[in-house]
């Protein structure tokens, strides 16, 4: 149970080698072993999506993945999308359209939508609503999030 496995994962372009228990979630590896605390845990059963990160470019609930499953793979977290001094285009759209309040669910939405816009650079409003419905936000009623995604898509954030 406590036998550590050695894994190698690339997070936001930086390679990390570490030993983890097989049952340790990717979320805990990111947050507590590697200090990427921008990834948050809201339910730990795969519904809320606050912990969404990109694994080899695809959104994944990091609460439902073990760290060992990320061995040899490339992970993107919210820390890669921009800096406070220079927000990425999706982050900029979120602040322009009040797409966040407490900010706890926000990293998960940003990662989910980043992957979505890469795949669907010119989405319809219905497609946006459907993808935003993958995650939970308790503060905004999604109004600002939906507007932010629309604006980001219109500004070419996905291309």
């Amino acid at each position: 149970m406590t036998d550590a496995h050695s894994i190698r994962i690339t997070v936001n372009g930086t390679e990390h080698e570490l030993a983890v228990e097989p049952r340790r979630t990717l979320a805990d590896v990111l947050r507590h072993d590697l200090a990427y605390t921008g990834t948050h845990l809201g339910c730990e059963h795969g519904i809320c999506g606050a912990c969404t990160v990109l694994v080899d470019g695809l959104p994944a609930r990091s609460c439902l993945m073990f760290g060992v499953q990320a061995d040899g793979r490339s992970v993107e977290t919210v820390e890669a999308l921009g800096t406070p001094e220079e927000l990425g285009p999706l982050q900029q759209a979120f602040t322009d359209h009040h797409g966040l309040q407490c900010g706890f669910c926000t990293p998960g939405f940003l990662m989910l939508i980043t992957a979505f816009l890469r795949e669907t650079p010119s989405p319809t409003d219905e497609e946006i609503r459907e993808v935003v419905a993958s995650n939970l936000c308790r503060c905004t009623g999604y109004q600002g999030i939906l507007r932010a995604v629309r604006a980001a898509a219109d500004d070419g954030a996905g291309s």
Binding site: R31, G82, T83, R138, C139
Partner: protein
């Protein structure tokens, strides 16, 4: 849109100003602007700091052993297997916490039975999820493993799983101190002669409405990191709370320490909605264990714990009767209210919080002259309740608005006209209502008229009929309400709580470079106070809000205050900041007057300069005043400069926002599903400091209200076992469940605050359940069906339709005589 770093001030939107009472501040250069939030940049980039992010080396992880039965005697606890696991440091039970006092929320009034909430259950458990033992281990995984190895022997006792059961003769007592399970029983108003009014009234209508148990479910659950600082002798508790100072008080009382020996730090908070405005046992526990073991202790609530053991809310029942004259004017209101408060009383607001608010605020925006009410809080073997956004107002408004719809039908006036005839008119403000509350001013009738117009109410019958001709059941529902916000000490004092919140205090300090730190005891958890408070101070000080920073959430750093709840922050905290900023601005003008050889009264602070009014060339930069006040104070006469700081407090009289909400729904007769087609809000919170943030608060509130109306319910089985322990069972609305909200504003500045602003954080949640239920029933009325319970489950809709006959519509509100 201007941002906080500059740009011209812009006029926002089209906000009609209905009236500006004398003495209110006009909107300023920054007040009223949709300034982008300063919080966003770090939150959007993953640089926020939430309590769960902290995990210093050597941290012990705390996992709880919780009761899995609703009512039992604890016969034995065997922790030996858990303690034998390598890496387990300790198992703490009530025995190890001897000397740690329980939480005791008290209302000093005879209708209230005080009960203790133990930090860990000693010999008795009263609800599933009650904490019994704390396991401390080197990792969170190990702590959970070990918690499962702790064996608790229960002697099961009868459980009462509903208020109805709890009130039945011979029901088991949840607390020995309350044999009939009534913990609070108030009748705060009984107008003489009410029965006569009802006997002679032209119309008497009645409704009976119930609301399911729900919970705030902030995305960040509760979480604590506690440590003992040997240098200062302090317990340092980091916790996700709305009320840092109140947590400090509770911890100090429980642990028998002076308040200065407890430091509470709350960094970013991932939502609270009221659930974190009371003190949780786990917060006291973490502090007590850290002191006992002299180790850093971390507890992170998981979602199952949150949904089963975190504070819950709003399981209520209302029976209302309304007497109306032939013209549809309400003559009297008679109410019986019951709240299922669960097994314990929360600290500090107690299990009376819903009970009292329901009784006191039921009359709402209507001219209710005669009123009789009884409101009871009933103990059950379920998780304790605490405030959740709006507390009892969503349910009270639901009941009143069902009554108004019934009156509209019975009188033939319809939903708008009957409300309009009973809403308090603008000419009547300030209006003292039947309970003694004094409403400042608002747009009660105007918001109704505007909402009805936006929804096309006058054309609605035709729209509805043509939809029905196509086999579609559509409905329109309205809800009018007043939102009492920012109670001050006078209002809270009347509740007879043993600690009386209400005021707020702020320090505004300019540093030698001319930047400003604002410190106050409110605690933003999504409301954007770092932005709005900066807007308030910026207007007073004539500097850019980008040069103003908020410090909050650390009892060591900020003045004593009461935190963020009850829509109080922009009124109480903002009021204190406005006053302190005005004081500091006066100091700056005096220093400038000395340097410019002008009179202080002739000086204004604008765009970073202190300048003579009408002669902007005679000026000095505010940054130079700040430098001089600190670094060249010898140039100033004694009493000027030598620091630049002001502190002020504000204890509000209470402000009253108002709104009308309107919903259009489509009900599927085959599935029982309800789809929201439109949702319109017309609200009036006085001066909006930041209209973007106001809209965000409204939208978030409406979403939670819709969740309560359609989706969310914490269910229990007949033994008190919770069966909604995950987000698969407890349905928080998603983006697919909600329409685009149409939010409109009216503006009646209040004379009761320095900024003209009223509190508004809860309004969205308050109106939505009533608007949605009324809309669903407007749709169902076409097939003679009616639902009087939320959440409106598809099965309820199907059952109502099946039970209905068009010749005898159930629940038409007419009292059988």
């Amino acid at each position: 849109m201007p941002d906080a770093t500059g740009g011209p001030a812009m006029v926002t939107g089209t906000v009609p100003v209905v009236g500006t009472p004398p003495g209110t501040a006009p909107a300023g250069r920054w007040i009223g602007q949709p300034v982008r939030r300063v919080e966003d940049r770090y939150l959007l980039t993953g640089r926020g700091r939430f309590v769960g992010d902290f995990e210093p080396p050597g941290t012990l992880h705390l996992a709880l052993v919780r009761s899995y039965v609703a009512s039992a005697a604890i016969e034995a606890i065997d922790a030996s297997a858990a303690l034998s696991l390598p890496g387990v440091a300790a198992v703490i039970t009530a025995a190890e916490l001897a000397g740690v006092a329980p939480l005791r929320g008290v209302l000093a009034r005879p209708e209230f039975v005080a009960t203790d909430m133990p930090i860990l259950a000693a010999d008795r458990v009263r609800h599933v999820g009650e904490p019994i033992a704390a396991v401390l281990a080197e990792s969170a995984y190990l702590a959970e493993d070990a918690a499962e190895l702790v064996e608790v022997s229960y002697g099961e006792l009868p459980a009462v799983a509903s208020a109805g059961e709890a009130l039945a003769p011979g029901a088991a007592a949840v607390h020995e101190a309350a044999p009939g399970n009534v913990l609070v029983d108030v009748s705060p108003m009984s107008t003489p002669g009410l029965d006569g009014i009802f006997a002679s009234a032209a119309h008497v209508v009645q409704v009976a409405v119930s609301t399911g148990r729900i919970t705030a479910a902030p995305l960040e659950g509760r979480v604590c990191v506690a440590a003992f600082d040997e240098r200062t002798g302090q317990v340092v508790l980091q916790t996700s709370t709305q009320v840092p100072h109140t947590v400090r008080t509770a911890v100090a009382l429980s642990l028998g320490m002076d308040e200065h020996q407890v430091r509470v730090i709350s960094p970013d908070v991932g939502g609270g909605f009221g659930q974190k405005c009371v003190v949780a046992r786990e917060e006291v526990l973490a502090a007590a264990v850290a002191r006992l073991l002299r180790r850093t202790v971390k507890w992170v609530e998981d979602r199952r714990e949150g949904l089963t053991s975190g504070f819950q809310a709003r399981e209520q029942f209302y029976r209302l009767r309304g007497a109306f004259d032939a013209d549809g004017r309400m003559l009297g209101l008679d109410a019986d209210i019951r709240c299922d408060v669960g097994a314990y009383s929360c600290y500090p607001v107690t299990c009376g919080v819903e009970v009292l608010m329901a009784a006191n605020e039921l009359p709402g925006p209507y001219r209710v002259q005669s009123y009789r009410v009884r409101s009871r809080g009933v103990a059950t073997n379920k998780t304790p309740i605490a405030p959740y956004r709006g507390v009892s107002r969503p349910q009270a408004v639901l009941a009143m608005e069902r009554l108004m719809d019934a009156a509209g039908r019975v009188t033939g006036l319809g939903a708008v006209e009957v409300r309009d005839r009973n809403l308090i008119d603008a000419t009547e403000f300030p209006y003292r209502n039947v309970m003694g509350a004094c409403y400042d001013a608002g747009t009660y009738r105007e918001s109704l008229a505007r909402c009805a117009e936006l929804l096309g109410f006058s054309d609605w019958p035709a729209v509805q009929a043509s939809a029905w001709a196509e086999g579609r059941l559509v409905g329109l529902g309205l809800a009018c309400f007043v939102e009492p916000t920012a109670y001050g000490t006078a209002s809270f004092g009347m509740r007879k709580m043993t600690i009386v919140p209400g005021y707020e205090r702020a320090t505004v300090r300019m540093d030698p470079s001319g930047s400003v730190i604002v410190m106050t005891g409110t605690h933003s958890h999504g409301q954007g106070h770092a932005t709005t408070y900066a807007q308030i101070a910026a207007d007073a000080l004539g500097i850019d809000p980008g040069r103003i920073r908020l410090r909050q959430g650390d009892t060591e750093l900020v003045p004593h205050g009461w935190g963020t709840f009850a829509s109080r922050s922009i009124v109480a905290g903002g009021g204190a900041i406005a006053r302190a900023s005005a004081d500091l601005a006066g100091q700056l003008r005096e220093i400038a007057a000395h340097m410019l050889e002008a009179a202080p009264a002739d000086l204004e602070l604008v765009d970073g300069m202190a300048q003579v009014r009408g002669d902007p060339a005679t000026s000095v930069p505010i940054a130079e005043l700040a430098r001089t006040a600190h670094h060249a104070a010898h140039l100033l006469p004694d009493g000027l400069g030598r620091g630049l700081e002001a502190t002020a407090s504000f204890d509000p009289e209470g402000t009253f926002s108002n709104a009308t909400h309107g919903a259009v729904v489509e009900v599927s007769p085959s599935t029982g599903g309800v789809r929201l087609v439109r949702y319109v809000v017309v609200e009036d919170c006085g001066v909006m400091i930041n209209p973007m943030i106001v809209d965000g608060q409204v939208a978030g509130g409406v979403a939670q209200g819709i969740g309560a109306a359609l989706f969310e319910e914490l269910c229990f089985d007949e033994t008190g076992q919770p069966v909604s322990g995950s987000f698969v069972d407890y349905l928080v609305p998603t983006a697919a469940d909600l329409p685009e909200f149409e939010i409109h504003h009216l503006c009646t500045p209040t004379p009761r605050t320095p900024t003209g602003s009223k509190g508004m954080g809860e309004g969205g949640t308050i109106g939505a359940p009533a608007a949605v239920l009324n809309a669903v029933n407007d749709a169902l009325a076409q097939v003679g069906a009616c639902v009087e319970r939320i959440p409106i489950r598809p099965a309820d809709v199907i059952a109502a339709i099946a039970a209905a006959t068009s010749s005898d519509p159930p629940g038409d509100g007419k009292e059988a005589k």
